[in-house]
Amino acid sequence: MSSVLYDTPGPRAKQRNVLLSVVFFVLLALLLWWVWQTMDDKGQLRWALWKPFTESQAWTTYLLPGLSNTLKAAALAMVIALPLGAVFGIARLSDHQWVRIPAGAVVEFFRAIPVLLLMLFANAFYDLYTGVSSEQRPLYAVVTGLVLYNASVLAEIVRAGILSLPRGQSEAAMAIGLRKGQTMTNILLPQAVTAMLPAIVSQLVVIVKDTALGGVMIGFTELLNTRGTLAANYGNVIQSFVVVAVIYIVLNFILTSFASWLEKRLRRSKKSTGAVLGADDVEDINAGEVGGTPATGAGGGTI
């Protein structure tokens, strides 16, 4: 195989590659053996520590309720953040400065702040100024923090989605006499929503990962939090971390695969304009490129 870095290997290069493979294999094997030995020395491989995960009790009392809370917070955050994000995304594209600039300021502000700060603030805010019960407060705080942050990210996704459509679409709409609002609701948004779908699913991965913050910092009983109770009960810290990590990996892997399947399907589809926002764009937007958004503009870079 040929790439930009190297040509199809000849006989000497093939030999060298085999040698490198062997050396790397030995190093990797040594590393794995060392990890295995260390685990064994500390008695972490004892079956008694892993056994709880083969029985239903650990799952039904700790892991599954935790996972369901994780998913609940993620789903709530996404459902609330989507319309908010759409409003701000469209506002940023407005022709009126007095709409565009404040909307832009709000979006850039919330993208520049760590989501943990937003959660901590929401938690204290609900405690002081509202009557939310203390059992419900962590969920409210986590969802509020996630909504504030992700609404601003989704606003950028919506904006990039609309900008990724060919100019001809809005020009044609204007030519047949549609108003600005009609162009947006009847022509641009329906197409942008399809273009944005992969990006929205990818954003779900980010939301799921961020719920774990609420578990540690404000006592929201999600997966990472219930892991602590489980480990305190069975005395298996390492094992519970491994199982929880695997759950997160599988969950996020399913979401990522679904997003890239959607992306491929949309790119192939003959009905659409072929404009798609993929996972790479989401990563750029999440970083919070404050002060100008070079990578997320119309058709920029990876599209």
Partner: protein, 221 residues
């Protein structure tokens, strides 16, 4: 109006945030470059390892990794990171966690930078008789580095925000000090505004400088 700031080392907290960011950035740049080199290497096993690392680490929440460094590595395996002092140890463990996590994103940024160099560039370089290291040094890498600045700046900004997760293992950086203040003082809105302002001050110049740099250095194609 700002007398609630007394008794709290807010500047010190942000200095810890900056230190965490810089150390983790340097570490993850090194480890991420190595991973990227593996992912684009002609050796299938190395490619497999790089791909597996990136996909596994990216899908685990950073919080899980950071909490694991403290509860797992330090408490169970006795990793002390060369210090018995709880604060120093927590700081170093957090840097270790950030490096392990951020390297996966650095690797992807660098790999995508290499992939933006058109195949024709390398083919032309080989056609005029340049050897492997010349092709890499004179043609491919100079173009790749320029297109990598933007994505790497994104990773750096994300890392700056992510350092707040170190609060989960008791590192006295901005988020932890904010948590303490919010619990003890009444002016919740003001406290939140001060810390939000601090992060805007940290991330805004990074975004502006690197955005300008990546536009200036962009390869015109």
């Amino acid at each position: 109006m700002f007398d609630f700031l007394e008794g709290y080392d807010v500047l010190g907290a942000f200095w810890t945030t900056v230190q965490l960011t810089i150390l983790s950035a340097v570490g993850s740049l090194i480890w991420g470059t190595l991973l990227a080199a593996m992912r684009v290497s002609p050796v299938p096993l190395m490619r497999g390892f790089g791909t597996a690392y990136v996909h596994i680490v990216r899908n685990i929440p950073l919080t899980v990794i950071i909490v694991f460094t403290s509860l797992g590595l330090a408490d169970i395996f006795g990793v002390t990171m060369g210090s018995r002092d709880f604060d120093v140890q927590g700081f170093r463990l957090a840097v270790l966690g950030f490096v392990a996590y951020t390297a996966a994103f650095v690797c992807e940024a660098i790999r995508s930078g290499i992939n933006t160099v058109p195949l024709g560039q390398a083919e032309a370089a080989r056609a005029i008789g340049l050897n492997f290291s010349q092709t890499l040094r004179l043609v491919v890498l100079p173009q790749a580095f320029r297109s990598v600045i933007g994505p790497l700046a994104n990773v750096l900004i994300a890392l700056t925000k992510n350092t707040t997760v170190a609060a989960a293992i008791g590192v006295a950086e901005a988020a932890l000090v904010m948590k303490e203040m919010i619990e003890n003082e009444a002016q919740v809105l003001l406290i939140a505004a001060v810390f939000a302002f601090g992060f805007v001050v940290l991330t805004l110049p990074t975004g502006l400088i690197f955005g300008w740099l990546s536009k200036r250095l962009a390869v015109k194609r």
